[in-house]
């Protein structure tokens, strides 16, 4: 009888341990971000690059193939980060996003100001030493999120439609 009770207790503990072990999604988000942010150290700048301009101004002045330093809030669409690649869009801080009182679940899509976004948005691509796009999510790599204010230093890439893409070498997270 005693053996049966011991067996039952062991089974119960094993069952509870199994149930606890099922909680695979319990890693604290903060820790995940910190560790992921560490792997993006090659791009993260502790000090802000000098001569940064807002995105709208950079779109006017940046020359294809030349260095550019610009800053803006991560956003411009409901999902500003590219899944599976270190790329995202930033919007000039002068463009206001939906105020909190409107209760918009994704204020970073600037849904109320899409017309202004058009001329005040740039795409940021994190590239490695060979100039190749990094195949990791920028959100995890840099520890940033939507509406983070970032300063980006890199090389400008322009097309005939006036779009601005920055091949980023350094990213400083202002807030």
């Amino acid at each position: 009888m005693k053996v049966d009770r011991t067996k039952s207790a062991v089974c119960l503990v094993a069952l509870l341990a199994g149930l606890c072990g099922c909680d695979r999604g319990s890693t604290p988000a903060g820790n995940a971000g910190a560790s992921a942010g560490g792997s993006g150290a090659a791009w993260l700048a502790t000090e802000e690059p000098a001569g940064a301009r807002p995105v709208g101004e950079a779109r006017q002045t940046a020359v294809d193939g030349q260095p550019v330093v610009l800053f803006g809030h991560i956003g411009g669409s409901a999902q500003p980060f590219v899944t599976g690649a270190a790329a995202f869009t930033i919007v000039d801080p002068k463009v206001p996003w939906c105020p909190d009182e409107e209760g918009c679940p994704t204020p970073w899509d600037y849904c109320c100001k899409q017309n202004e976004v058009r001329e005040n948005i740039a795409t940021i691509k994190l590239v490695d030493a060979a100039g190749k796009l990094v195949a990791s999510d920028a959100k995890e790599l840099l520890g940033v999120r939507e509406l983070s204010l970032v300063v980006v230093a890199g090389k400008a890439s322009r097309d005939e439609a006036g779009n601005l893409v920055v091949l980023a070498e350094k990213v400083h997270v202002r807030q």
């Binding site: 411009g76 899944t83 869009t89 795409t123 195949a135």
Partner: protein
């Protein structure tokens, strides 16, 4: 050594048969409760399955940035497919054909239920006759009227419902890999394909959408050339026609979306990146699986409400069962006291009563399950995005069986415990 013995198994079975009316009433209550639980869980599982399987993980949808999750409001330039084909390298190809499907998608009023003489492509029926019919949802009166020229007669299309129409090209099956033509053929000019669940979406008879029948939308009549299935995906409730015909009917030159198949996860990122870089085009790319997953959040309140209904129905059933069992046990106080007096332990009697409750619950669950499988499983339900089939799969049946057996257990336990607490002498004296 009677105090070590359990009550015989058939004692509980015979007890159930001793009071057939009470047993039948309890059984009926159990069947109704479990059936209602299965209805609600089957509804939830069907909805979840429809949204889950609609999204091909390798398919990417490119639509207008401003459209959000509503593809019907999306409008993108007609040259977008060519631009994507020229700019992207990671699009899957079938032979020389890239898997890029330009599509025009719209919810519109569809009229069904009649045939038009002399159908041979895009023949217009009498506008006045249809205008009369436009305000009524169902008009079953068969009417004939002469056309303006007086040369043709029309059987007025009688039923009307909101349907989803997708204008596609021959490339659509390259991307929508679950598509199966189950009857008829691919549509020619002025013809359409209807899905397996289109009749449910439109709220009309299946026979009104038979191959060869005629339906009407966007001021044109369309002959049904075939019927398709799509593995229970949301498309099954749609009507498909040729893109150029639909553009002409809508007087539109643009598209709603471009669906394409990426040849690797990296290629899907390439499409997304292309749309982000070309901010002037105001396009957005989203994987089809992510799109349908995002739609699930709109149905979260419905699902939560459904689970609340499951809880309420189960709770109500439990109280009803408990009430019946209180009555059943109350009438057996003397019998229980006698069993205790001759030496059966409380535990043995409790187990006997639980056995009776569980037997009844198991029988009720089996009957409800059988009825539900026969009546409900696969039956289609209309919802905003189309239609889906109720699905009584393993988890749904498990939920139903679990609810039924829990009812039997929890419904029996309190009255049985109460009866066993009564002193033997009091029990023996009771009437």
């Amino acid at each position: 050594m009677i105090w070590h013995r359990w009550l015989p198994w058939d004692y509980g079975v015979r007890n159930l048969l001793r009071r057939p009316v009470r047993t039948a009433l309890t059984l009926a209550a159990m069947v109704i409760v479990v059936f209602l639980v299965l209805v609600v869980v089957g509804f939830i599982r069907g909805l979840e399955r429809s949204l889950a399987i609609s999204g091909d993980p390798e398919a990417v949808l490119v639509h207008a940035l401003t459209a959000g999750e509503n593809l019907e409001t999306s409008a993108i330039p007609a040259q977008t497919p060519a631009l994507l084909a020229a700019s992207l390298t990671g699009i899957r190809r079938w032979g020389n054909q890239p898997a890029i499907s330009p599509e025009l998608f719209l919810g519109t009023r569809i009229q069904t239920g009649g045939a038009v003489e002399g159908m041979g492509g895009l023949i217009k029926s009498e506008p006045e006759a249809l205008a009369e019919n436009a305000d009524s949802n169902i008009d079953s009166r068969p009417r004939n009227s002469a056309s303006a020229s007086g040369s043709q007669e029309f059987a007025v299309l009688s039923a009307q419902g909101m349907g989803l129409v997708r204008g596609v090209t021959g490339a659509a099956p390259l991307v929508r890999r679950g598509l199966r033509l189950v009857e008829g053929r691919w549509p020619d000019a002025g013809e359409v394909l209807v899905g397996r669940l289109t009749a449910t979406k439109l709220g009309c008879e299946e026979s009104q959408l038979d191959v060869g029948q005629t339906i009407r939308f966007e001021q044109r009549e369309w002959k049904i050339a075939g019927r398709f299935a799509a593995g229970e995906a949301a498309f099954e409730a749609e009507i498909w026609c040729r893109l150029e015909d639909f553009q002409a009917a809508l007087k539109r030159q643009d598209l709603s979306l471009v669906a394409l198949l990426a040849d690797s996860p990296g290629s899907a990122a390439e499409v997304e990146l292309f749309c982000k870089q070309r901010t002037d085009l105001e396009l957005v790319a989203v994987s089809e699986a992510a799109y349908y997953a995002s739609l699930q959040k709109f149905y979260r309140p419905i699902r939560m409400l459904a689970w609340v209904v499951v809880a309420l129905v189960s709770g109500a059933g439990m109280f009803a069962g408990m009430n019946l069992m209180y009555g059943a046990v109350a009438g057996r106080v003397r019998e229980i006291a006698t069993l205790r007096a001759i030496g059966f332990r409380r535990r043995a009697i409790l187990l006997g009563l639980l056995q009776e409750g569980l037997l009844l619950a198991a029988l009720g669950t089996l009957i409800a399950g059988a009825i539900a499988l026969y009546v409900l499983n696969g039956s289609s339900i209309r919802f905003t995005m189309g239609a889906f089939a109720m699905r009584l799969d393993g988890p749904a049946m498990l939920a139903g069986c679990g609810a039924g057996l829990t009812l039997g257990l929890l419904g029996t336990l309190p009255p049985a415990v109460r009866a066993l607490r009564m002193p033997v002498v009091t029990g023996l004296k009771s009437a």
